[in-house]
């Protein structure tokens, strides 16, 4: 039935997204970019691709961050075009994609506002994909009047409100039924905002997965696989990144464990085992039954071991992120192999983000004069034979 009814609402948009898929930079175009001598050359090379004239109005020495921001704006524009034409289930699905960025933005804004940075600066840095009108209110909020305002604004006005609520429920003791404003204020002070962000994202991931499951059909199938793998990556990433840091120490394991999403192929047994792990060997042992992840861990373990400091050249080693990006690109590419599901929208956004990362990386390498590293990108839709 999906076959015959999907196109009723979403056929046009799916086709459009697949059309946008052909806009990804090809291997040739990457090669051309990598051969550029300067950023200006790169701008010219990009003009010949699907990116077009988007850098035209920038004054000549373009920093790589501006390129990244402009690319993201382009992505956001295209995304908004899709969003404006979407019907109910798809529109909600697309909103879920923006919520992830909104969480980033909101947390960044709170952090900046608490530290009294100017609103213009803050708004200039946000991810255009996660832009929403209430952001201005947060940025220009008067912190001195207390956290009550922030709390109200966050919980009521923003799309991320529900996640904040679940976050608050988790961090406050269960027995206190009504949370006073005082407590909320103390939460904002005490909780590391980075931890808060990750807990919000975890809540988002779980919510997104639940939503995809209600959609059913191949959307649930494809998205379920992607999200589960993603949440597994998240578990691994949190674990590895907190190794040898304060968060990895035994007294903060509780904090760390709060960040593990309750879905994925690792959940519940694997997550449970990882929860108890505190160093490389124990993590390795916890991952042992999950062959692909254990292999992934082995590949990047040297980067995270304690002995790394000082001895070896870190440039040679791959971090977990490099590997995860590769896997993620692969996952997202596979999503395009099926028709009539929403996974392509997710995959398109994710691949586009990866492509932007690639472009920024190449730009960085070119401006640093280290052309030998321009190859270290994750090409998207690399020709497979």
């Amino acid at each position: 039935m999906e076959l015959s009814f999907f196109n009723v609402k979403d056929g046009y948009l799916e086709a459009l997204v697949r059309g946008l898929r052909s806009g990804f930079l090809s291997a040739d175009e990457y090669r051309r970019l990598a051969q550029c001598e300067s950023i200006d050359d790169m701008k010219l090379a990009l003009e010949e691709t699907d990116y077009g004239m988007f850098l035209q109005d920038e004054p000549s020495p373009i920093p790589s961050t501006v390129i990244g921001q402009k690319c993201r704006e382009k992505l956001a524009n295209e995304f908004r075009h899709l969003r404006s034409q979407a019907n109910y289930p798809l529109s909600k699905f697309l909103d879920f994609l923006t919520v992830e960025k909104m969480i980033d933005n909101v947390v960044g804004l709170i952090q900046g506002t608490v530290n009294k940075k100017s609103p213009q600066d803050l708004l200039g840095r946000v991810d255009p994909l996660g832009w929403f009108p209430e952001m201005k209110a947060i940025a220009s909020m008067d912190i001195t009047s207390g956290y009550e305002e922030i709390y109200k604004t966050l919980l009521i006005d923003t799309p991320v409100g529900p996640y904040f609520e679940s976050f608050l429920k988790q961090v406050t003791p269960a027995d206190s039924e009504s949370r006073s404003m005082q407590e909320v204020a103390s939460i904002f002070n005490e909780t590391d905002l980075e931890l808060m962000k990750n807990m919000l994202k975890k809540a988002w991931l779980e919510d997104f997965n639940a939503f995809c499951e209600t959609l059913g059909g191949s959307t649930a199938e494809v998205m379920g696989h992607i999200l589960k793998t993603n949440s597994d990556f998240r578990v691994m990433s949190v674990t590895l990144n907190s190794l040898n840091t304060m968060l990895g120490s035994s007294q903060q394991l509780g904090d760390r464990n709060l960040l593990y999403p309750s879905l994925g192929y690792l959940y519940p047994e694997g997550t449970d085992r990882i929860r108890k792990a505190w160093n490389e060997t124990t993590v390795r042992a916890a991952l042992e039954p999950y062959k692909p992840y254990a292999a992934l861990f082995d590949l990047c373990a040297p980067y995270y071991s304690k002995e790394r400091s000082g001895v070896t050249d870190i440039k040679q080693l791959k971090s977990l992120e490099d590997l995860i990006y590769e896997k993620e690109v692969e996952l997202c590419e596979f999503a395009f192999e099926q028709q009539f599901h929403y996974g392509v929208f997710y995959s398109w956004v994710k691949l586009r983000e990866q492509e932007i990362r690639n472009i920024v990386w190449i730009a960085d390498m070119i401006s640093m004069g280290r052309k030998e590293h321009t190859e270290e990108i994750v090409p998207i839709f690399r020709p497979r034979y």
Binding site: L13, E14, A15, G19, S22
Partner: protein, 179 residues
């Protein structure tokens, strides 16, 4: 027809005018075929429109998919015309009493309608889905077009089977000539 009491479903069916059966058959064959064609065009069309935004070159080539769907409607129309031509003569020996040939012909045309309509409806959807895939595939890689077209042709053949079988089926039922 005066008010009568029917004692069983068989009696009810028996008393329905065979021409009415035939007419329902025509309606089904044409209606379902057109529904299938429209559905297919819709499936193909929405994908085609979306895909041709980024790859405008596919738009005229992929009209073939739309034409395949259209053909399904034409099958329905052909069968409907054949069936209409069979509905000739009106012979009623007594009110509510029809000659057996007429009754047989009525049922026959009704089921021809079901055969053709059903097969064309599925054919339309099949061609539509594969046409949508064809449009998307062509937009990415032009060499896929011919391959996808073959798939579509096979899909389209399904409708043709229905039509052929329908014609043979319709030959079995003939209303008695008007005397």
């Amino acid at each position: 027809m005066s008010a009568q009491a029917f004692h069983s479903w068989g009696e009810v069916f028996y008393h329905i005018n065979p021409y009415s059966w035939a007419a329902i058959g025509i309606a089904l064959s044409l209606g379902l075929s057109v529904l299938g064609a429209a559905w297919g065009i819709f499936l193909t069309g929405s994908s085609l429109v979306g895909a041709s935004i980024k790859a405008p070159r596919i738009r005229s080539k992929n009209l073939i998919s739309v034409i395949f769907c259209e053909a399904v409607a034409i099958y329905g129309v052909i069968i409907a015309i054949i069936m209409v031509n069979k509905m000739q003569g009106l012979s009623e020996s007594a009110p509510g009493i029809y000659p057996p040939e007429a009754i047989a012909a009525g049922y026959c045309l009704f089921w021809v309608g079901i055969t053709v309509g059903g097969s064309n409806l599925s054919c339309g959807i099949a061609v539509g889905v594969s046409g949508s895939g064809c449009a998307l595939g062509d937009a990415q890689n032009p060499t896929l077009f011919v391959k996808m077209l073959i798939v579509e042709i096979f899909g389209s053949a399904l409708g043709l089977f229905g039509v052929i079988v329908g014609i043979i089926q319709a030959n079995a039922g003939n209303f008695p000539k008007q005397t």
